[in-house]
Symmetry: C2
Subunit: 239 residues, 2 copies
């Protein structure tokens, strides 16, 4: 799974994509590109038979995913021994209005990743991960910040999961009506959905001489969030 010469995640009944009209992919390149262009995931885990679906921020290093939470959160109390988890990332790209209800759809890109979630318990590794949690989004930012206190580090839990299985599902086809339905006098369209950055709002309490560092140039008004995230990822993990 970690060798450079193995470029797909294994496929079995857990992660095989079943719906044939959506494209399933298992290769590292497709899956990692989707993961590196996003920041929000939903993580599923089970406590006493009850499934939880928790939104959180995540990032990737190789085939390892990291996410974070409060040390007090219920999600984390059960994870020290390794608990099965599923981390999913989804981007909606358009609404698809077809000529019948059945062909109404959305264009989207998603990744489901499966593995065993574990707490990062080694202190040095945890501190490194907390740096990357910020710097993966805002390259080299941690060096400009007030250093984290011991208490802050203690209050944040970092979880990691080595991806054992993963799949991507991508729908890009827009309108896909049955051939005979194109002859009907019914309106159909695709409505793009874009997640973009607004105008950055500097803190009103900035000290007078403090300017926006050039390392934030990638975050500018009107740019798709995913482009800023992918660029920041490449700056932080240049290999």
């Amino acid at each position: 799974m970690t060798g450079d010469n193995i470029t797909t995640y294994p496929v079995d009944t857990v992660n095989r994509v079943k719906r044939l009209h959506d494209r399933g992919a298992y290769d590292h390149a497709t899956i990692h590109a989707l993961l590196d262009a996003a920041m929000l995931c939903h993580v599923s885990y089970v406590i006493d038979g009850q499934p939880y679906c928790t939104p959180t921020l995540y990032w990737r290093e190789g085939s390892r995913l990291y996410w974070h939470g409060s040390s007090a959160s219920r999600m984390l109390r059960n994870l020290s021994g390794g608990e099965p988890a599923c981390l999913t990332v989804t981007q909606i790209d358009s609404l698809v209005l077809a000529r019948c209800g059945f062909n109404h759809s959305v264009d989207y890109r998603s990744v489901m990743a499966f593995g065993q979630a574990r707490l990062v318990s080694d202190q040095a590794e945890k501190e490194r991960a907390l740096v990357m949690m910020v710097d993966r989004l805002f390259p080299e930012r941690t060096a400009l910040l007030r250093q984290s206190s011991h208490q802050e580090i203690k209050a944040t839990a970092v979880i990691f999961m080595d991806i054992e299985r993963a799949s991507a599902k991508i729908r890009t086809k827009g309108i896909g009506d049955n051939e005979e339905d194109y002859r009907l006098p019914i309106y159909a369209e695709r409505i793009p959905v874009n997640t973009v950055l607004g105008k950055p709002e500097p803190c009103p309490r900035l000290l007078p001489a403090v300017k926006r560092p050039p390392t934030l140039d990638g975050y500018r008004e009107g740019r798709p969030l995913e482009d800023s995230l992918a660029e920041a990822y490449r700056a932080s993990y240049p290999d």
Copy 2:
């Protein structure tokens, strides 16, 4: 839970919001408003001890949530008897760059809803639900479409879940640095994140006389998706 005079979901260890610096809410008004302004959810469920986190489209009727899937999907085979599920909806509103790593955050709104997921097996109720799946997004659209075939209805599964417990978490505060950190010469900002509609793209194969129906006026370029969705919801469920 369904009476008009009961306006909050019950709170216990499953849904109590633990992190005090985020605002937790349990009232129907807050939770339903968030649910009705979105279309994408992630649903967690468990098969053989393995949690799955599946993205799908959902909608709400009262305290009941509906979502759909392929009849062939692995998610649905286990649900006929009622299976514990958690449905989560999350909206990121901004990236928050603070003066220390610990106070970096995002403004966001999310809902977690818990209950027992079940297949809609009654045929008339299923057909009604499939109409609402489209009309909830695009009011009165089904009446303009080619009717669904028996096979199409059979191929689509509709799941419902009565919300037994739910919580909303909302962070809106932007930058929240420790008071003493505001004296440091460190740049901080809030970057808004907006999910907006692009320019609708009519199907290139429209018949010549077919025009965009006025019922789609709510979907226009540059509008926040959540505004279009909330408006469409109110048109479909006017009470």
